[in-house]
Symmetry: C2
Subunit: 480 residues, 2 copies
């Protein structure tokens, strides 16, 4: 406990140094989606390797190989950085994951300041691309190591890093490396902690123990051999767009209810125990409405909103490939159109079963249309949902750390989106995975003026360090 | 009759000269939609002015003004060329219309030969951009004048030309000029003839006496203030795409039946007299199927196909603006989407009434959705249908000319698309308008390898000339 306090004091006193480190990291525009910035992504990897080595970590890299960039060019993928701080067999080993690439950012997009120059505004917000997603958290772990080293404090656990440079672009090659290293580099890992998401709101820390999955579908309707003119052919042939709209309109109701039979049968019922967990969560309907920008919410109470975001499935129509999409008027009859939609999945929905249900339903509905066009429905991609337990010792340790640093019990949250690496670590390592966010819900991770509040950075560094202390004390084999 | 035969013989004997004139015209890439080719459009106008003047025509031009090219640049519009051959008050005055601009064409699009070099293949097809649409027909009229001049034959009518250079790009400025000149340059016009469409098939000439109109609609659904992530928001807000697909699926059935109440009440019934006119028309179901490339036809008999193309309304869904349209997967919830659809209209549908019916129906259906999104439905553009009569003396004269040149009675056809200038001339001049095509239905006017069969060009020149002789003999005031 004394060492925890010492650590926290050090962080409080040296926050300018840590902000300076973040400033140097933000200055490297490691935009993974832009081939022109690919050298910067590599440079950012080097920056982290140097920082880690300077703190005595042993560092290795793994090469994810080459990227086929939209069939236009071949790019080297930035390395997965593996680093180890400590290898005491008497200690637990905690694996932390983060990413060192960032979303694109241009001043012209509407940034108030240069996105790659970290500035602090009068509300003590550190503004810059990657400040919150995910350079702040990644440096958070490094700052923890530095603080211990400078204080001459022993690290409470062995710490392993897994840092990738392609998260914002699909984490190409990462899964294979994790699976490959599961019984090698990651062999002694006892638990995993990922800091790459956000508080639910702006005031209260949270631990995140669940994510929805996503199954993405392509519904193709093929009619004439080529696009036709609606004047000449309208009324004489089966138009693929008519069939597509008929089918896609039968997938989901305006109130969000999914119309594919059998989907809800697979959804785990809400227990009274689960219901109770929503009561204390800091979330209002107004939080949703301000995020959305108006009052187009379906549900009128905050708990329903959270449940429909976290633990009920949803179906969204995304668009149509092959149809007219520009402004203006065009009288084309598209020859082939591909409708895109996805289903957010929750326990206990199984991706394979979902695809079966969707394919059967859409095929049945298509047959009812009596169209001479042809229809193909396919799942283009599925990622399973993920659910851990806030009662797991890894979470209990994190909750204690939150109480120590913030003097409040964390909200126990789930998220509506997916973070595929979470499930990948859990499946490959068979260890508990904890999502422990540093930033706030309004950080604007993928938007203009991305920020990390100074207090979130400083308290976040404390949180990550204290978590390592707390997790060293729990029995991780006692899986509740 | 002797002079007609003399004229036809001359055309037969001088066909190489006429093809050479077409070759020189095709060599000018007068693509009106491409700013880089705008000078070529002007050059093509000059070419026609020179040819007309050389034949003794008096030529004037009208300037349609400037074009705002997608808000990016301002382009000069090519002139409307007005020319007069003869001003004998004892003769009728016939106005002919054509356009000297062409569709874009690139060798890379799949042309077998350079699109701007006219070549004749082994099936005696003259291949080149604009050969059929509409340089062949425009030169057809000029060739008629030349033949008479060379033969020392008097022209049977006074001939006026109205030639524009923007037809393939919306005829910007033309309507105002026609209206303005109605009681000036066009004051003495007795009838109008337009040669800018095609035979129904490939074997039999036709006269075209009807066109469908088109009313184009934009259906906008607006939800959240910005695009959202379906993981975070799916299931909690009213998604504009869901509402849009619900509404657009209620517009038309897969078998082409329009679901907007009241539309069919306005459609003029098929009389037995009209029904009879379809019997002799050279058109098979296989003609539709080969145009479409497969058997996705709704109707199983040729007459139903023609009626649904020509004289029944149709509704086509064209696309969605604001949604995801690229290949691949994207989990966006679009904030605002605009569905595009159009209705092909026929007698006695009135555009204003159609818009009223559509707006009422879509609004009613949207209200049933109980969505908190907002919806706006608007007619972005409407052009009325057009219907003349094959019994009008102008058509009787043309039918006689077809019999003289082709030894067959022409098919009496309508078309499913619209040619707005037709209605514009009829409304402005209050004179009969005849559509007298030169090319075949398979000329590929807007496709690669556009062609005009040598025989269509040569017989077409004869047809235009003989028509002028025939129309000089009928009583155009006797409007059947
Ligand atoms: Zn991230
Ligand atoms: Zn991110
Ligand atoms: Zn044309
Ligand atoms: Zn055209």
């Amino acid at each position: 406990m004394a060492s925890q306090q010492q650590f926290m004091d050090y962080v409080e006193q040296h926050q300018e140094d840590f902000i300076d480190r973040l400033r140097r990291a933000v200055a490297i525009p490691s935009v993974s989606s832009d081939p022109n910035h690919r050298p910067d992504v590599f440079r950012m990897g080097e920056f982290l390797i140097d920082e880690l080595k300077a703190l005595g970590a042993s560092v290795e890299t793994r090469d994810p190989g080459k990227q086929d960039f939209h069939g236009q060019l071949t790019l080297d993928l930035p390395p997965v950085v593996l680093a180890t701080v400590g290898d005491d067999p008497a200690k637990k080993t905690i694996l932390v994951y983060g990413h060192y690439d960032v979303q694109p950012a241009l001043k012209e997009d509407g940034w108030t300041t240069d996105p790659f120059v970290l500035v602090e505004d009068d509300k003590q917000r550190l503004i810059g691309r990657g400040s919150s997603d995910d350079k702040g958290p990644v440096l958070g772990w490094i700052n923890v190591v530095e603080a211990h080293k400078k204080l001459g404090l022993e690290m409470p656990v062995n710490l392993k890093f897994c840092l990738e440079g392609m998260e914002e672009s699909g984490s190409e090659g990462l899964e294979a490396i994790i699976e490959d290293e599961a019984d090698k580099y990651f062999k002694d890992v006892d638990a995993v902690c990922i800091s790459d998401n956000y508080w639910l709101g702006t005031t209260k820390p949270c631990l995140t123990y669940g994510l929805r999955g996503v199954s993405y579908f392509h519904l193709t309707v093929k009619g004439p051999a080529a696009d036709l003119h609606s004047g000449v052919f309208g009324g004489t042939i089966h138009e693929p767009m008519t069939d597509l709209f008929a089918l896609m309109s039968k997938l989901v109701q305006p109130d969000g209810k999914i119309l594919v039979p059998g989907i809800y049968d697979q959804v785990r019922p809400v227990t009274s125990e689960e219901e109770a967990t929503y009561q204390s969560i800091a979330f209002d309907l107004s939080d949703l409405q301000s995020a959305v920008g108006n009052k187009t919410n379906i549900h009128e109470d905050a708990i329903s909103v959270l449940q429909h975001r976290w633990r009920f499935p949803s179906l969204s129509l995304h668009g149509v490939e092959g149809a007219f999409y520009n402004p203006g008027d065009k009288t084309v009859v598209p020859a082939q159109v591909v409708g895109k939609f996805s289903i957010r999945t929750v326990p206990d929905m199984e991706p394979k079963k979902i695809t079966e249900l969707v394919v059967k339903y859409v095929t049945d509905e298509f047959n009812k249309l009596n169209s001479k066009n042809t229809m193909v429905i396919k799942c283009s991609h599925d990622g399973n949902h993920w659910l851990s337990s806030p009662n797991h010792p890894n979470y209990v340790a994190a909750a204690k750390a939150v109480e120590t640093v913030f003097n409040v019990k964390p909200d126990l949250t789930r998220e509506g989106g997916s973070i595929p690496v979470t499930l990948c670590f859990q499946d490959a390592l068979k260890k508990n995975v904890l999502l422990l966010p540093m930033g706030r819900g309004d950080d604007g991770a993928h938007s203009i003026n991305e920020k990390l509040d100074r207090s979130n950075y400083v308290q976040g560094i404390k949180l990550l360090g204290v978590y390592l202390h707390e997790v060293s004390d729990v029995d991780l084999e006692n899986k509740q």
